[in-house]
Symmetry: C2
Subunit: 322 residues, 2 copies
C-alpha cells in the first residue's frame, strides 16, 4: 500500500548548502491538499486493481507522483514572488521569510528536483512520461503568462479564460492521472479517459474557486470574500457578467471597475449586478457540465474502489465550501 | 556534418504567448561563445572518428547539445535577475528590457525547454543522460548558492572557492563533453576522461577569468579592469593574497576592502599588494596545473582531429586575453 503523503514527508532536504535546500523543505512541509500525487497513485491503483498488472506497478508510480507534487510547489513558490504574495497556506512565503533571490534559486532547484524524481521512472516508461511532463510544464508557464496578459487586456473572451485555466490548473491534474495510470499499465483509451477526467475536474475546480470567492461562506472559505471583485480579477463571473449585460449594466460594471478604496461597497454592488444578471446560475451550469463530462469518462475505466474515489471526488468538488 | 551554431539559430520561438517566448528568443540570439554545445559535438566527433560508431551518432548528440546551451542561458537569465545585472553580452538583460517577472517566468520555461530537448535523446541513452543532466543542474544551483554564501562569509578557504567554481562553471563543461561522447558510444573510461578534461579546463578558465580581471589588457578584455577588486569579490587572487600575506600586508588589504568610493586608487593599491606577494604567479601556477591535468586526460582518448581541437582549446585557454 503506497502512502504518498508519507513519501513526500520522507524526502530528504537536509543537504548543503542549507540556503538552497531549507526553503525547499519549508515549502514542501507546508502541507496543502497533496491532490496531484494522490490522484497519480489513485490512477495507478485503478489500473492495477482493474486486473491488468501486479501491485509493483503502484510503487513504480511513486517517483512520478513525487515529481508532480514538487513541480506544483515550485510553481507556487515562483508565482508567489511574481504576485508579491506574503502568505501561503497560513505561513510566510519564501520570498518574505528569506528574500527574492532565495525564492528564485530554490525554486529553480525544486524544478530540477522534480526531474530528478522523473529520472527514477522505469526506463521503458521514461520517454513518454518525460515528454508529457515537459508538455504539462510548458502549458503551466504559458497559462501563467496568459493570466498576466489578460490583466492588461481590455477584452477577454470566456473561451480565452477557459483556455488559460486549462493550461494553468487542469493540465497538471490531468497529467497526474494519466501518468499514474500509464506507469501502472493503462492502455491508450484508459490514458485518455484519465486525462480527460482530470481536465474536466480541473476546470470545474477552478470555476468553483471563482464562485466561492464571491458566494462562499466566510466561515469556511478561508480567505476574505470578494477579493477577486476588489482587484478587478477577470474571473469567469466577471466575463459572464459582461457577456450577459445590457448597455446600462455594462456601464455600471465599468464604473465599479474603476472605483478604488470603497471595497465593501464595491463588493456589494458588483455582487448585486451578478445576481441581477443571473451570473451565478450561468457559471454553475458550466461547472456542472464539466463535472458531468468528468464523470462520463469514468465509465470507460475499470469499475473498482479507486474508480469510486474519482467519482466521489468529482461529486464532492461541485458542492465544496472551501 | 553537424553545425551546432545553426541548430541553435534554427530553434523556433515564434510561439504564443509572445510574452513568454520572445525573451527566450532574445536571450538565445545574443550569441556568446556557444562553448558548451560545441564541446558536446566535438566529444561526439572524437568518439565517432575514433572508429567506434557511424556518423549518425553525432546527429544523436544534437538535442543534448541544445539542451546544454539552453540550460546555460537559463542560468545566465536568472543570475542576471539575482545580481541585478543590467547588461549581458552588450545588450540589456531581460529583467531590464522587460521586467523581473518576465525574467523569472521565461527563465523557468527555458529550463523546461532544455528538458524538452533532452527528451529527444535516443531512448536507450536517455536515463543516463537525464541523470547526469540533473546532477549537473543541481551542482550549478548549489554553486550559485555557495557563491552568495561566500559573499557574507569572513573566511573562505581556497579549497572552498575551488569547490564553488567547480560546481558553478566546470561541471557544465565537463558534462557537455561526457554527454556528447556517451551518446556517440564512448566507453566508461572515455566518458571519465572527457569529464575530467572538462572539469580541469573549466577550472583553468575560471581562474584565468579572475587573473584577467586584474591583469587583462583593457583593449581586449571587454570589461573594465579591476571590477572584482572594487566590489571585494573573493576571487582566487584575493584568497591567495590573504593566505600569503604577513600581518602587515593583511592589515593593509583589510583596510582597502573597507574602502569605498576611491576605486582607481583601490585597484592600484590592491594590485600592488598582489604584485608584492607574488599572487599572480601563484595563481598562474594553479591554472597551469589544471591545464596540464586537462591535457593529460586527452592521452586516454582516440587521437584524431577532434582530439586535437580539445588540445588546442586547453592550450589557447591558458594564453587568452579576453
Amino acid at each position: 500500500m503506497v502512502d504518498i503523503i508519507k513519501e513526500i514527508e520522507q524526502l530528504d532536504w537536509n543537504k548543503e548548502p542549507k540556503g538552497l535546500y531549507e526553503p525547499i523543505a519549508y515549502t514542501l512541509a507546508s502541507g496543502g491538499k497533496r491532490l496531484r500525487p494522490t490522484l497519480a497513485i489513485i490512477a495507478a491503483e485503478l489500473i492495477v486493481n482493474g486486473g491488468l498488472l501486479n501491485g509493483d506497478a503502484i510503487e513504480h508510480a511513486v517517483p512520478a507522483a513525487l515529481a508532480l507534487e514538487i513541480f506544483h510547489n515550485f510553481t507556487l513558490l515562483h508565482d508567489d514572488v511574481m504576485d508579491r504574495a506574503a502568505v501561503r497556506r497560513g505561513r510566510e512565503t519564501v520570498h518574505v521569510k528569506w528574500n527574492d533571490n532565495t525564492a528564485i534559486l530554490s525554486g529553480d532547484q525544486m524544478l530540477i528536483e522534480a526531474y530528478k524524481q522523473l529520472a527514477q521512472v522505469p526506463a521503458d516508461k521514461l520517454p513518454q512520461v518525460l515528454k508529457w511532463f515537459n508538455e504539462m510544464a510548458t502549458a503551466i508557464c504559458e497559462g501563467q503568462q496568459y493570466d498576466v496578459d489578460f490583466e492588461h487586456q481590455n477584452q477577454v473572451r470566456i473561451e480565452d479564460y477557459m483556455m488559460m485555466i486549462e493550461k494553468k490548473t487542469s493540465v497538471l491534474i490531468a497529467n497526474a492521472l494519466r501518468t499514474g495510470g500509464y506507469i501502472a499499465g493503462a492502455n491508450p483509451a484508459q490514458q485518455e479517459a484519465l486525462y480527460q477526467y482530470g481536465l474536466h475536474i480541473g476546470l470545474a475546480f477552478q470555476i468553483q474557486d471563482d464562485i466561492l470567492d464571491v458566494y462562499g461562506d466566510p466561515k469556511t472559505f478561508g480567505k476574505a470574500i470578494g477579493g477577486d471583485i476588489c482587484c478587478n480579477k477577470k474571473t469567469i463571473l466577471l466575463l459572464t457578467a459582461f457577456e450577459q449585460a445590457d448597455a446600462e449594466s455594462k456601464a455600471e460594471l465599468l464604473e465599479w471597475l474603476m472605483t478604488t478604496g470603497r471595497d465593501a461597497e464595491k463588493i456589494e454592488a458588483v455582487t448585486a449586478i451578478y445576481n441581477r444578471l443571473g451570473v451565478r446560475e450561468a457559471v454553475e451550469t458550466i461547472m456542472e457540465q464539466h463535472t458531468a463530462l468528468a464523470l462520463a469518462q469514468l465509465d470507460r475505466l475499470p469499475q473498482n474502489k479507486a474508480c469510486d474515489k474519482l467519482r466521489e471526488l468529482a461529486e464532492r468538488l461541485a458542492v465544496r465550501k472551501s
